[in-house]
């Protein structure tokens, strides 16, 4: 068990109560739903892709503080980035929460490191990575829904 106050940091709680890019994207080119049926976490990610660039991204939905903050931070981190950059961030993020002892590219993570505490809570890892899986599916062209269960 890790330190609870490290998991629920103020910035994370702030993302939870005031999520960024929490809006409907009218000109989205891809839309995907991420659903964790065990928790009831459910988010819709909308992305506007122009060639290989994520020019805009928004999300809607509900879930626990970890999943909502993670989704909010995801949108901030990948907006304006190319899809290959987004994949690299996905890999680094995934490694940070599932294999934190490995050699992680901290430069790629930026603010996402605030979520590193999740690795100490195995039951909550799925909450943190739900929207990241949805993002990857979405930009791989698989519009629809993705589940972490």
């Amino acid at each position: 068990m890790s330190d609870l106050s490290y998991l629920y940091q103020e910035i994370l709680l702030e993302h939870n109560s005031k999520p960024r890019n929490y809006r409907i994207l009218n000109d989205a080119t891809v839309s995907i739903e991420g659903h964790n049926p065990l928790c009831g976490d459910k988010y819709t990610l909308q992305i506007k892709l122009e060639k290989d660039t994520i020019v805009d991204i928004g999300f809607q939905g509900s879930g626990c503080a970890i999943s909502k903050a993670s989704t909010s931070m995801l949108t901030e981190r990948v907006k304006g980035k190319t899809t290959s950059e987004a994949f690299s961030v996905f890999d680094a993020f995934h490694m940070m929460v599932t294999e934190p002892d490995k050699d992680i590219d901290h430069d790629l993570l930026e603010d996402l490191e605030l979520l590193s505490g999740v690795s100490g809570y195995p039951a909550r890892i799925k909450c943190a990575i739900l929207s990241w899986h949805a993002l990857r599916e979405a930009i791989e062209g698989e519009s629809g829904s993705v589940s972490t269960e």
Partner: protein, 408 residues
């Protein structure tokens, strides 16, 4: 607290309760998911494997006979525990889920036809929904749902309106795992029987906490699990009236369930063995017998009245928390407190309480239609047992204060 209910000495019977979790004394409030095991149940398992381990109903040797005796003695204890008419009405299964599936696949496939109706309630566990949905898909029967009122009770008038001569089977939960509501299964059964429908009662949550008399209820089937009744996992029970079971086809086939086999014809064994194909969970059955002995020693009436006090105490305490909403407020309920806390997601509540050593269940409790009924994705659920204390409920309240502090 009830005079004479010696909870502190009872707690010593459960070795797991003296543990610390995350540096705090364990406060185990997830009894509706599974109960803890007293030392005598744990001992009965190791004793079986150390002294009599052998296959049942097969050997002429001494150990086989001893194992068979213990295995069948446990069946008699179960029969007496729920006041069934005879031992042959007690079928060992893996648990409540398998018991319900047995009825769906045997009785259901045999008797349910296109256009028939099956009635369940809006507060069922998925294990009492999905087998009937599959049966309906297979047979063309129609599933009808008894609605739930705002306080979390079944709407008996609506149930009466759903019943008709098309109704072939009614399957309802005795005590809701998500809401705690105790349903009037005797009345529900009588109403169904007046139209010739067969009744199954899901007793997974009731059997551990109240005196069950299947003959008084009058139901045709009663299903429950060993592990929620302080027994081992992997063992459960289906009670069925012998006249109903006699007419049913086997659910699984193989050894044990046959009387004779040739390549031309197989003659099935008598009840209950007809429904017990293969080597059963012998240790589990014996362990469940030990658990029933243990519960009987304390007494279900004493257990029930002590748990009712815990519920009243916990309800009063939780009601003092302004943003807390109890889901399931029937006046007739078991010691289950399902709640939401403002906008704070139950999983965050669960993680923070866990850091205080408090184990509760969070989520939809395998009862998604109940969550939908109340327009919520999930609840936090504290479910109590006779080894819990008022002090532990105070710890829960302090833990909830901590949750509110983190999210303030």
């Amino acid at each position: 607290m009830t005079d004479g209910f010696k909870v502190n000495s009872i707690r010593k019977d459960f070795p797991i309760l003296s543990q610390t979790v995350n540096g705090k004394p364990l406060v185990y409030l997830d009894n509706a998911a599974t109960s803890q095991k007293p030392q005598c149940v744990i001992d009965s398992l190791s004793n079986y494997y150390q002294t009599v381990n052998s296959n049942v109903h097969r050997g002429v040797h001494t150990l086989s006979q001893l194992a068979t005796d213990d295995y069948e003695a446990a069946r008699s204890k179960i029969r007496s525990f729920i006041n069934a008419g005879s031992d042959q009405e007690i079928i060992y299964t893996r648990g409540t889920t398998e018991s319900i599936n047995l009825v769906a696949y045997s009785f259901g496939v045999q008797n349910i036809r296109s256009g028939d109706e099956i009635i369940i309630s809006g507060m069922e566990h998925h294990s009492n929904i999905v087998p009937w949905q599959l049966l309906c898909e297979q047979t063309g029967a129609v599933l009808r749902i008894i609605p739930i009122t705002d306080s979390g009770e079944l709407d008996i008038n609506q149930y009466g309106a759903l019943l008709s001569d098309k109704t072939k089977l009614v399957s309802v939960v005795h005590q809701s795992n998500a809401l705690g509501t105790i349903n009037s299964v005797k009345e529900i059964t009588a109403m169904a029987h007046s139209l010739g429908a067969v009744v199954l009662v899901d007793g997974a949550q009731s059997a551990p906490h109240m005196k069950v008399d299947v003959q008084d209820i009058g139901c045709d089937f009663f299903a429950f699990s060993g592990h929620k009744l302080y027994g081992p996992t992997g063992i459960g029970v289906l009670y069925g009236k012998s006249e109903v079971l006699d007419n049913m086809v086997p659910y699984q086939s193989g050894g044990e369930m046959i009387k004779s086999v040739t390549f031309d014809k197989t003659i099935f064994n008598v009840l209950p063995h007809k429904f017990e194909a293969g080597t059963p969970d012998i240790a589990g059955a014996i362990g469940l017998g030990a658990a029933i002995d243990y519960v009987n020693d304390i007494g279900l009436d004493a257990i029930n009245s002590y748990e009712s006090e815990l519920l009243a105490y916990g309800t009063a305490k939780l009601e003092q928390i302004a943003s807390l909403r109890i889901i399931g407020t029937s006046s007739h309920k078991g010691a289950v407190l399902s709640f939401t806390l403002g906008d704070i997601h139950p999983h965050d509540i669960g993680t923070i309480l866990d850091s205080e050593g408090i184990a509760i269940r969070t989520g939809h409790h395998c009862a998604q239609p109940v969550m939908e009924r109340y327009g919520i994705p999930a609840t936090a659920r504290a479910s109590m047992s006779f080894y819990n204390t008022k002090e532990e409920i105070d710890t829960l309240v302090t833990g909830i204060d901590r949750v509110l502090e983190v999210f303030s």
